[in-house]
């Protein structure tokens, strides 16, 4: 009996896990709106040199405290700085923070989490106790402390190796902010990865891989890690909004991104006192609203990913 060939068009395209995730994410309205805002942020950050023709640090002494005009789209502040160009350039800093801090914490968290979860024993104990110690400091207090203490040291070191120009351009501020935020960000991720490894290493597919003689590191990286990533992606993406907010707090304390680096946190700290100023009060709202919208956007994207990756959640 001849087997009838099924016409090609009738075979449904195979659905993949990531295809489903994309589909579910795209049906989530807040998440998609968040995604659009986030893409907008990166676009503005990338196009900043085109969007802004004036220097954001330039001081226009003829137009101090001016209202929005064709020269200064959002007006100028007390020092005659163009608010529009400050806002646009600050998108760069926010974009940097939203990429580098999660990337750094993720690398550290994965490294220590995999080692702790897969090697176990005393290595595990040391890594986890180290995490416990960092967790013993309340909230961002340790970030504040590290940033306040290591900044002068890093500044000295950078000047010491002959990079005085770098030090002047505020390059050090980025190092300090990234280091401080990543240092307290990794222990949570390491714990998570470790927990995943501990549960997954006893699963049948790992035993099967061991049985056919796959090397230990190949098992850890090729078999366990991809299966452990889902909750990690959720935690990392959910934390980005908080990271941007944390940079704001650091700037407020004078240990975050400082001039000449542009940052919304810095603008809020510069302008927050204007709440009682009859003339300049709108300046308080411009960076505040932008910051809240960006944080909300990252939160929605994070929640959307969470729901898309865990379809049986509620």
């Amino acid at each position: 009996m001849a087997v009838k060939a099924i016409p090609h068009a009738k075979i449904k395209k195979p659905r993949t896990m990531w295809g489903d995730v994309v589909l579910r994410f795209s049906q989530n309205l807040p998440a998609m709106m968040g995604l659009i805002v986030v893409i907008g942020l990166y676009a503005v950050a990338l196009l900043a040199p085109i969007l802004v023709t004036t220097n954001y640090t330039a001081i226009d002494l003829d137009n101090v405290r001016s209202a929005p005009s064709l020269v200064h789209y959002l007006g100028t502040d007390e020092l005659g700085r163009d608010v529009y160009s400050r806002v646009v350039w600050a998108a760069r800093s926010a974009a940097f923070v939203s990429i580098f801090v999660p990337a750094l914490s993720l690398s550290l968290g994965l490294f220590f989490g995999i080692i702790a979860g897969y090697v176990g024993g005393w290595v595990d104990t040391i890594v986890m106790r180290l995490g416990d110690i960092l967790f013993a400091f309340p909230g961002l207090l340790f970030v504040f402390f590290i940033a306040a203490t290591i900044k002068p040291a890093i500044l000295l070191w950078v000047k010491g190796i002959g990079l005085t120009e770098f030090a002047k351009q505020g390059f050090v501020d980025y190092i300090v902010v990234f280091t401080a935020l990543s240092l307290v960000g990794w222990p949570g991720l390491a714990r998570l990865v470790r927990g995943q490894f501990l549960t997954l290493r006893n699963r049948e597919f790992v035993l099967a891989a061991e049985a056919i003689g796959v090397s230990q590191w190949r098992i850890a990286l090729k078999h366990i890690l991809p299966n452990a990533m889902t909750p990690v992606i959720v935690v990392v993406s959910g934390g980005i909004g908080g990271t941007i907010a944390a940079e704001t707090s650091l700037s407020f304390l004078g240990i975050g991104l400082q001039p000449p680096n542009p940052s919304w946190g810095q603008m809020i700290s510069d302008y927050y006192i204007y709440w009682r100023n009859t003339e300049l009060w709108p300046l308080l709202f411009i960076p505040s609203i932008i910051l809240v919208v960006i944080i909300l956007a990252f939160t929605f994207v994070g929640d959307g990913l969470h729901e898309a990756l865990n379809p049986y959640l509620d």
């Binding site: 416990d132 110690i133 013993a136 400091f137 309340p138 909230g139 961002l140 207090l141 340790f142 504040f144 402390f145 590290i146 306040a148 203490t149 290591i150 900044k151 002068p152 040291a153 000295l156 909004g241 907010a245 704001t248 707090s249 407020f252 304390l253 004078g254 240990i255 946190g265 809020i268 700290s269 927050y272 006192i273 204007y274 709440w275 009682r276 009060w281 308080l284 709202f285 505040s288 910051l291 809240v292 944080i295 909300l296 939160t299 929640d303 509620d314």
Partner: protein
């Protein structure tokens, strides 16, 4: 149970020792020597040498550290270097700490019950508009930093409506406390509402709740005896986490509203590079935080036998 308590109690002094070591090491050697900070612009090698001698900064690291720990154990936190030059840090803290404690206590006393109630309402009306609006507000509360909320609320209530004072501190039971306490409490509300909702939804799908319903208990009975009781136990542990976020919130809120508490002191100290104060505030806050977490863990162990074994 006893071994659990002993293990947790032994961890505390160990943790404290390490915390003091980290803060000493980073705080003393990170920013450069204290005499450099103290002299600032007026730095000259001769005066610096005199100060180094007086303060025992030429002694070996280990010896300095031992002295430092001994001072901390006897509540001698050194003297302020720049901002309140010469004043003992312990006295500054003693004056500032009560205000911060009042502020945080009020935020917790207000935020925890409100958060639990909102979370319970959200879980009961899961998926309906009540649930959605409560989720919306918790997300919003989490997304708005106190640095944004503070000035905006001041603008609305103090400048435009003129119904609240512009800042300052006349004690907890005065109009000046309304805005700062609300800002700190909103974070607590968001944290607790979210967690209560998640826990209750978890418990609602548990087998013993189905059993309770199927044996004919009233919905009220199921909720109060079976769902709420089991959903509230894990909340004990997030109190610690929430406390951590209020500590950092206090720093900013106190500064914006001009409240003379520990947060404002820390803000001033960071600005003036007054490291003895920065170190003391960090250690003190971490110590209080560690105590709160210890208390939560022990309490959790007492009320939930499953925890003790792990």
């Amino acid at each position: 149970m006893l071994s659990y308590i002993v293990r947790r109690l032994l961890w505390l002094p160990f943790l404290l020792a390490i915390m003091i070591f980290i803060t000493f090491w980073l705080g003393f050697y990170g920013p450069g020597s204290p005499e450099v900070v103290l002299l600032g612009q007026r730095y000259d090698p001769e005066t610096a040498a005199v100060i180094k001698e007086q303060w025992g900064l030429n002694e070996p690291f280990a010896l300095q550290y031992v002295k430092y720990v001994r001072n901390y154990v006897t509540l001698n936190f050194g003297e302020s270097l720049t901002k309140y030059q010469g004043q003992p840090v312990a006295r500054l803290l003693a004056r500032r700490l009560p205000v911060t404690m009042e502020l945080n206590a009020a935020a917790i006393a207000l935020g925890v019950p409100l958060g639990i109630i909102l979370g319970a309402i959200a879980a009961t009306y899961h998926g309906r508009w009540q649930d959605r609006s409560i989720i919306f507000f918790t997300v919003l509360f989490r997304a708005v930093p106190s640095l944004v909320a503070g000035p905006v609320l001041l603008f609305v209530f103090a400048k435009q409506l003129k119904i609240l004072p512009v800042g300052g501190w006349d004690g907890l039971f005065s109009a000046s406390a309304i805005l700062p306490v609300s800002i700190l409490a909103s974070g607590v509300v968001a944290g607790f509402a979210r967690q209560t909702r998640a826990n209750m939804l978890d418990v609602l799908s548990a087998d013993y709740v189905r059993t309770a319903r199927s044996k004919g208990l009233s919905e009220q009975m199921v909720m109060s005896r079976h769902v709420l009781q089991n959903a509230l136990i894990p909340l004990v542990t997030i109190l610690g986490l929430v406390l951590g976020s209020i500590v950092e919130g206090t720093l900013i809120t106190e500064t914006i509203f001009g409240i003379p508490g520990m947060g404002q002191l820390a803000f001033e100290a960071i600005g003036a590079r007054d490291y003895p104060i920065i170190i003391a505030v960090t250690v003190l806050a971490a110590f209080i935080f560690a105590l709160a977490n210890l208390w939560a863990d022990l309490f959790y162990g007492i009320i939930d036998p499953r925890i003790r074994q792990s």
